[in-house]
């Protein structure tokens, strides 16, 4: 039973990773792509690691998987901020159909 739950989580995690990558290819600009990659890949990878922890049930493997999941949860959004800010600072434009850009209006003075 625990094996079943664990493998199901692994499969769902991989599916989220795949959808995240599809979003990464389909979305039009850096910022939208970051949205897809941070959200789906974070959740997908965490589910995968939790699945691994459940399948291995106890011991070093589970502890490592959980620690990795926590670190990914903490670092992945931080990395996304850094990339988004860096992209903006180096002049990457928003997609042409973007509706509003408060950052450009108020930060450039």
């Amino acid at each position: 039973m625990t094996d079943f739950i664990g493998y199901t989580l692994v499969i769902i995690g991989i599916l989220f990773d795949i959808f995240g990558c599809i979003g990464l290819v389909r979305f039009p600009d850096v910022y939208n792509r970051l949205q897809a990659s941070t959200k789906c890949v974070t959740l997908g990878t965490i589910l995968l690691l939790v699945g691994v922890a459940i399948v291995s049930a106890s011991g070093p493997m589970a502890a490592k998987a959980i620690i990795c999941a926590v670190f990914i949860l903490l670092t992945s959004p931080t990395a996304a901020h850094a990339i988004a800010k860096g992209a903006y600072a180096s002049g990457v434009q928003l997609w042409k159909d973007s509706v509003v850009d408060k950052y450009a209006e108020e930060e450039r003075d």
């Binding site: 989220f16 959808f19 995240g20 599809i22 979003g23 389909r26 979305f27 039009p28 600009d29 910022y31 939208n32 970051l34 949205q35 897809a36 941070t38 959200k39 789906c40 974070t42 959740l43 011991g59 070093p60 502890a63 490592k64 620690i67 949860l73 903490l74 992945s76 959004p77 931080t78 996304a80 901020h81 988004a84 800010k85 903006y88 928003l94 997609w95 159909d97 973007s98 509706v99 509003v100 850009d101 408060k102 950052y103 450009a104 108020e106 930060e107």
Partner: protein, 162 residues
Amino acid sequence: MRRLIYFVLAFIIWMLLTWQTSVQVIIAGLIASAIVSLLFHEILPAEHLVFISPVRMFWALVYVPVFFYYMIKANFDVVYRALHPKMPIKPGIVKIKTNLKTQSGITALANSITLTPGTLTVDLTDDGFLYIHWINVKSDDIEQATEFIAQRFEWFLKKIFE
């Protein structure tokens, strides 16, 4: 004091990662934790001692399922937008205001915003404004955008961090 807390944390993580109790491993862990805590102790937020309180820990535990609920919702939202043939996105950068004051509180808010429906923190200012990239802009007004994006977390984070 800071160094000591950092040292203990580093050592606990080391023990969990190695998962052995032989003497060599423990000595190596002590040396590694000592070096790390000497070099990087400023990383701990200045107000770290306040976190050792049962009330805050209780709210932090309550926050975890709430956060995961929004995170899973966010994922279905992004998957829907990514797979839909017409790609229903309406992106833009909006500005929101936060009432959180502490560094760690604002960090937690920014990270929560990034991992939840359609929003990604791009930058923050010193006077408590955040710039958010929003995949489906519903309002570019500061008040309304704050209500949509930050309100649901601020209540919890205030209890945990302030």
